[in-house]
C-alpha cells in the first residue's frame, strides 16, 4: 500500500540497474508486442516463465515479493477470463446453460482456447511490465522520454508528480498509522470518517507544500526549466544481442506454433 510496496523501490536496487535502459525497454516492450500478436497461449506461457526467471535470477528480485506481485493481475484476469470462457461460444459444446433464459452460457473447446490465450496474454504482458518497472527506475525513463523527443513540459510535469508522490506517500503512511493508533478505521462508519480526514489532511498539507515549493524554486532562479539527466551506461553489444536473440526466438516460436490448437 505504501512506499515499501512500490516497484520503483525495488528497481532502485535491482541487479540490472546499470544495464542501458534502451536495452531493457526493448526486451519489455518487445515482449508485450509479441504477446499481443500471439495466436495461442503457448508463446505467452513461455514468455511468462522466461521473464519471471529473468526477473528473479538476473535482476535478483526477491522471489516472494515477486510472487505477491503476480497476485495483483490474477484476480482481474481470472474474473474476466471466466466471462470470456462462458460467453464466447463455439462449435464443440462441453457444457451449456441458459441463465434467466435470456443469457445463454456455454463452455466450448474454442472458448477454453480463447480463455487460456487471454489469461496467458495478461500474465505475460504483466510479467513484461514487471520487468520494465522492476529493472528500470522511473528516473532513467525520464531520460529515455527526452531522447524520444517527448515535449519538455510533459516530462517536467511527470517529474514533479513523481517527486510529490514520494513526499505525500510518506505523509499519508504516517497519518494512516497515527489514525490506527487512535483506533480509527475500526468500524465502517468510523472508517469513512477516518478516510475523509486522511485525504483532507493530505490535501491541506500538500497545498501548503506547494506554496513552499514555488518559493524554493524561485530562490533558485526558476525560469521554467528542469535539468534533464542523460547519462547512463552505453548500450552493451552483448546484452543487446541476447535480448535480440530472445525476441527472435519467441517470434520463431509464434510462427512455428501458429497452427497449433488444443
Amino acid at each position: 500500500m505504501f512506499v515499501h510496496d512500490f516497484l520503483e523501490e525495488a528497481a532502485q536496487k535491482n541487479a540490472l540497474l546499470m544495464i542501458n535502459p534502451f536495452t531493457k525497454l526493448l526486451l519489455g516492450l518487445g515482449s508485450i508486442i509479441l504477446t499481443l500478436f500471439s495466436p495461442n497461449f503457448i508463446s505467452p506461457l513461455i514468455l511468462t516463465i522466461s521473464l519471471s526467471l529473468i526477473i528473479i535470477y538476473l535482476a535478483k528480485i526477491n522471489p516472494l515479493f515477486y510472487l505477491r506481485l503476480l497476485t495483483i493481475p490474477l484476480s482481474f484476469a481470472i474474473l474476466s477470463v471466466m466471462v470470456i470462457v462462458l460467453i464466447s461460444g463455439g462449435e464443440e459444446k462441453i457444457w451449456s446453460y441458459n441463465l434467466f433464459s435470456i443469457l445463454p452460457l456455454s463452455i466450448t473447446s474454442e472458448s477454453i482456447q480463447k480463455g487460456l490465450l487471454v489469461f496467458f496474454r495478461v500474465m505475460a504482458g504483466m510479467c513484461a511490465l514487471f520487468f520494465i518497472s522492476l529493472t528500470t527506475p522511473m528516473t532513467d525513463l525520464f531520460g529515455v522520454m527526452k531522447k524520444f523527443k517527448i515535449p519538455d513540459l510533459f516530462i517536467d510535469l511527470s517529474m514533479i508528480i513523481y517527486r510529490f508522490i514520494f513526499i505525500f506517500m510518506g505523509k499519508a503512511h504516517q497519518i494512516h498509522h497515527a489514525q490506527l493508533m487512535r483506533l480509527g478505521y475500526s468500524k465502517p462508519k468510523e472508517a469513512l470518517r477516518s478516510y475523509s480526514m486522511l485525504f483532507g489532511s493530505i490535501f491541506i498539507t500538500s497545498w501548503d507544500a506547494g506554496e513552499h515549493f514555488i518559493n524554493a524554486m524561485d530562490c533558485r532562479c526558476y525560469n521554467g526549466k528542469f535539468a534533464k539527466y542523460l547519462d547512463y551506461n552505453p548500450i552493451e553489444k552483448s546484452s543487446f544481442g541476447y535480448v535480440f536473440l530472445f525476441l527472435l526466438g519467441i517470434t520463431a516460436l509464434i510462427v512455428v506454433t501458429n497452427s497449433y490448437s488444443l
Binding site: M1, F6, G89, R121, D156, I160, F168, I204, S206
Partner: protein, 207 residues
C-alpha cells in the same frame, strides 16, 4: 477498475489509444497555455497529480478486495477542468502501471479514455449543472464524483465487451455480463468515493 496489460487484443488496444490521444494532446496544448501565462501553476498541477495517485493507491475496503481503487480524477476535474485532468490523469495512469502494476502500457489508451477522460468529463458537467442550483454543495460533489466513478466503470465494461463480444447475444450480452460482474465492487466503491470526497470537500471548506 484498470484493464490489465495484455487483456485487449492489439486492434482494440490501438483503437483506444487513437481515441484517447486527441484529448491528451488538446489537454497538453491547454496546459502549455496556462503555464505560459503563469509558470507557478506547474507545481500545483504536480501536486494535484500526486494527490490523484495517492487517492487511487489507497485501498478502500471493498467486497472483493482487489483492484478496486477510487479514481480520484473527479475532484481534479472540478478544480482544473476536464482537459487538464486528461493530461494529468494520463501521467498518473502511466505511473500506476509502472509503480503499482495497476493497468498496463498497451491498455493505457483504454484506461486513459475511461478514467482520465470519460469519468472526469461527466463529473465536471454534472458539477457545473448542479453548482448553481439549490442542491447542497456537498451533495453536488457527492453526485458528481460518484457519477464520474460509475461512468468510468461503465466505459471500462464497454471496452471489455467490444473486445470480447458474446457469441449468442453479441456485444450487448457481453456488456451486460461485464457490467454485472464488476458491479459487485464498483457500485459500492463509487458511492464510497463520492461520500469520502464530499467529506473531504467539507473538511477543506471548514479550514
Amino acid at each position: 477498475m484498470h484493464v490489465m496489460e495484455g487483456f485487449l487484443p492489439p486492434l482494440w488496444a490501438a483503437i483506444w489509444w487513437i481515441i484517447a490521444l486527441p484529448f491528451i494532446i488538446y489537454g497538453f496544448i491547454q496546459l502549455k497555455k496556462i503555464i505560459n501565462d503563469n509558470r507557478d501553476v506547474l507545481p500545483l498541477l504536480g501536486i494535484c497529480g500526486a494527490l490523484i495517485f495517492i487517492l487511487s493507491a489507497l485501498k478502500l475496503p471493498s467486497v472483493t478486495g482487489s483492484c478496486s481503487h477510487p479514481t480520484g480524477t473527479g475532484l481534479s476535474a472540478i478544480i482544473f477542468g476536464p482537459f487538464i485532468t486528461a493530461i494529468i490523469g494520463f501521467i498518473v495512469l502511466l505511473f500506476q502501471s509502472l509503480f503499482l502494476a495497476h493497468g498496463g502500457l498497451s491498455t493505457l489508451g483504454a484506461n486513459t479514455f475511461s478514467m482520465a477522460i470519460c469519468g472526469p468529463f461527466l463529473g465536471y458537467y454534472v458539477y457545473r449543472a448542479l453548482k448553481d442550483t439549490k442542491v447542497n454543495i456537498y451533495i453536488t460533489v457527492f453526485i458528481a464524483v460518484a457519477l464520474a466513478d460509475l461512468f468510468t466503470y461503465v466505459i471500462t465494461a464497454l471496452e471489455l465487451a467490444l473486445a470480447y463480444p458474446a457469441e449468442a447475444t453479441g456485444f450487448i450480452g457481453s456488456f451486460i455480463t461485464f457490467l454485472g460482474i464488476f458491479a459487485v465492487t464498483q457500485v459500492p466503491l463509487a458511492i464510497l468515493e463520492g461520500a469520502v470526497l464530499a467529506l473531504v470537500f467539507k473538511y477543506i471548506v471548514n479550514i
